[in-house]
């Protein structure tokens, strides 16, 4: 058994790393430390990219924090004919 164990590699570190990255990106938002606009831009892009081919440079995410209300502005330029086909 010991010889078998010797060759069986227990690679749990990559799992730890992934779990931490995911968890901390959310916790940093809760404690107000993440650049929320940048994060939203990435996540929104990922969702849209599943359905439409888009140019990353033509996506603009703006977050304004006001005392009464905050606004999230997302501006995505679609490639020509994208919507017509679908």
């Amino acid at each position: 058994m010991s010889l078998f164990d010797f060759f069986k590699r227990n690679r749990s570190a990559p799992v730890a790393r992934e779990r931490l990255q995911l968890l901390l990106s959310h916790e940093r938002i809760l404690t107000g430390r993440a650049d929320l606009a940048a994060l939203l831009q990435e996540e929104i892009l990922a969702v849209i990219a599943k359905h439409i081919a888009i140019d990353r440079d033509k996506v603009n995410v703006k977050l304004d924090r006001g005392s009464q209300c905050s606004t999230l502005e997302i501006d995505i330029e679609m490639p020509e004919g994208t919507l017509a086909r679908s």
Binding site: S12, A13, A16, E27, T31
Partner: protein, 273 residues
């Protein structure tokens, strides 16, 4: 020019007190005038780790409350005369320390020492907040383990928002001290690597302290490891870290024990038995 340095982590048991004592001793051995303050009111341990538990007469709370003068509470180390300790109190009163009082004591210490090292209690309660409140720089002690990394991330956020320096718009200097690291286990994929932790926490690395039986030996006898066994890997890691704090450029080293194939095989057997 004196520096106030908080040694903090969020999580308990990662090596804050050991690191405070070891970095303090290493800085003092390098000729700096150092005081290490125990902020863990109610659960003091720095005195024990530094071998001064029988010399405590007055403590931080006595000084903050004006019952003793600073000079009466400071304990000078018997081995290095530029190293002093300001012990915590064993009182159970959580409000024994006030922000104003701690600020006054630290201001007074700035006039006497080059380095004022604040050994923070675990957690994010008042004691931990007061330990970091007046600091200029921080050493974040982290183990390569998920809960320690998460808590360190939380503490880094607090250093950037709750310290006086940060509130005044200053950039708070933070350093990562990775402790209880095993290069061999990281290489086998069983432990987060140095680079993983650095990428996640995104603060500069001060040093890598290997997991070592010598650390326990040193605390058993109440002597900082840089004094007790200066040739050990862990002591060399702390000495290197102290020299980096003094501005020296020293190549990063994980201070791992490099063992041959046979002794590794035997080591594994011994661990399993």
């Amino acid at each position: 020019m004196s520096k106030v340095m908080v040694v903090t982590s969020g999580k308990g048991g990662v090596g804050k007190t050991t690191s405070s004592a070891s970095l303090g001793a290493a800085l003092a051995q390098a000729g700096q005038n150092v005081v290490v303050i125990d902020f863990d009111v109610g659960l003091r341990n720095l005195d024990l780790v530094m071998g001064a538990e029988r010399r405590v007469v007055f403590d931080l709370v006595n000084v903050v409350q004006g019952d003793a003068k600073l000079a009466q509470a400071l304990i000078r180390d018997k081995r290095v005369d530029t190293l002093s300790l300001l012990p915590a109190s064993q009182t159970r009163d959580k409000d024994a320390l006030t922000e104003e009082g701690v600020g006054r004591v630290i201001e007074e210490l700035r006039g006497k020492f080059d380095w004022i090292i604040c050994d923070s209690p675990a957690g994010i309660e008042k004691g931990a907040m007061l330990a970091m409140r007046f600091a200029d720089i921080a050493v974040v002690v982290t183990n390569p383990e998920v809960s320690s990394v998460r808590d360190s991330d939380r503490i880094i956020g607090m250093l950037d928002s709750k310290t006086q320096l940060a509130e005044n718009g200053g950039k708070f200097e933070k350093h990562l001290l990775l402790t209880r690291y095993s290069a061999a286990r990281a290489a086998r994929g069983e432990m987060l690597k140095v680079d993983d932790v650095l990428e996640i926490l995104a603060i500069p690395l001060l040093g890598i302290v290997p997991e070592s039986t010598e650390i326990l030996n040193a605390s058993n006898v109440g002597c900082p490891i840089t004094l007790h066994n200066p040739a050990s890997n862990a002591a060399r890691a702390y000495s290197d870290a102290a020299r980096r704090l003094l501005g020296e450029k020293i190549e990063m080293n994980d201070h791992a024990e490099r063992r041959g194939f046979m002794s590794r095989l035997l080591g594994r057997k011994a661990a399993m038995a």
